[in-house]
Symmetry: C2
Subunit: 263 residues, 2 copies
């Protein structure tokens, strides 16, 4: 099969358009780049509409070749393209020669989640993706992206998520009220806040709960503040705050620790 | 005082040279950029050799003006420069109009540290800086940068450290043996490792200990492996590993939690 040589190819243009949130929402698809991420999404059962690859990159990597063979056999449309064309659709600075157009996953929160993570205005893509990765590892049942948060399927968030996007139920809500609708009624909510009066390890995390993380610079929204009990992580030294991805992980793994001890 | 208008000014050239590790080591100084970081370093007692500033930026910010006045009164050489000159010495993409040349701090580890963090080949500047910030907040007594780690005073590490560099004893060791020399004899060492046999929360962190974090991609060095007991963070889902800055924070705050409970 001849490689695509034009950056104006319609499928290439469509893939490139998925770098924009509006297009991702309209097409309910996102771009997944790199061998590791494509492999993780594939293994998690994500539906690939098509896969772009650079033949030289496939020649150079047996794992890439194996994934390509497997996807082709499963009926995924696989499209060779020149390196220049590939660069035109990739978001990464040093593209790895493989990228897929993948349906946005439609995993929904369980009816009675044990632990839900809520991002309230987390705008940094690296922090949001790292939080997803940590949330999955800590056994969270789902993550909700609230108003003001980065789009969950922004390519940088997907990269930092290391595949968690395709294994963990995710919800995105433009309004706080929509977010509340996704949660079970009466789910106790806790807000990580340096000024909170309760230490995070004094919460009984063996009970169902939602953890809200607010934005690093300006703090949580008024809605989050009124809906949740504020908890803090006791800190030594002159540190005023923790990185949002770090604070989230510290609380989530304390919850995981308590749940392990109970069983 | 007339602003410096030439990027060839000797003091500007010297400041710019501090973006390179070799020059930082030779001159035992580093560049600290931005109002917050300069203020934090100053408050922590760091010795400023000089401070560069853009007059327009000082006009626009009363906090910046206050810091400048305080430093001038304390005898720090303060040098106005044009925005173009300032950009030539700054590492940041959007410089804030203030940057200081600061002596590398010379804080040493206490003779009997309670908890030491050891970075074994942590090369990512953001991770290294975030780890310093978390380490200070968790009450660590000092951080040692082992072989293969990023330079502690790399401008990106300093930015992510949020001032921890000037409040926390730091050591940098090109050889593992030099690092061991800085530790008290017989200090028990633990290595965070997804394959470790002991869960991190089963360690008695109320006792003196060193925590080693290895590089994300390739794992810890043979020296670290042979010197330390491997501990893991139990993980749910298909996650294979955590971000190094996250894994470090989870273990350090478990140590802090145990130490708080003991008292």
């Amino acid at each position: 099969m001849e490689p695509i040589i034009s950056t104006d190819n319609s499928r290439v243009k469509e893939a490139r358009s998925l770098q924009r949130k509006r297009q991702r929402t309209a097409k309910q698809a996102c771009l997944v780049e790199g061998l590791r991420l494509c492999g993780d999404a594939w293994a998690a059962g994500a539906r690939f509409q098509r896969l772009f690859f650079v033949p030289d990159a496939v020649e150079a990597s047996s794992s890439l070749a194996a994934l390509l063979t497997e996807m082709t056999a499963a009926g995924v449309e696989t499209l060779p393209c020149t390196e220049q064309v590939f660069r035109s659709l990739a978001d990464t600075v040093t593209p790895q020669g493989i990228a897929g157009v993948v349906d946005l996953p439609a995993l929904s929160l369980p009816a009675s989640p044990g632990l839900v993570l809520i991002l309230d205005g987390i705008a940094d893509p690296g922090n949001a993706g790292t939080l997803l990765r940590s949330a999955e590892a800590a056994g969270v049942d789902g993550v909700l992206f609230g108003p003001g948060s980065v789009d969950a399927f922004n390519p940088k968030v997907v990269r930092a998520g290391m595949g968690a996007h395709f294994r963990l139920p995710l919800g995105q809500c433009g309004q706080w009220a929509d977010l509340v609708d996704l949660l079970p009624p009466h789910l106790p909510l806790f807000l990580a806040d340096a000024q909170g009066d309760l230490a995070y390890d004094q919460v009984d995390w063996t009970q169902p709960a939602g953890l809200i993380l607010g934005r690093e610079a300006t703090g949580a929204s008024p809605q989050a503040r009124s809906a949740a009990r504020a908890i803090h992580i006791p800190m030594a030294g002159a540190t005023e705050s923790l990185n949002a991805a770090v604070a989230g992980a510290v609380v989530l793994f304390e919850a995981a620790r308590q749940r392990r001890q109970r069983t």
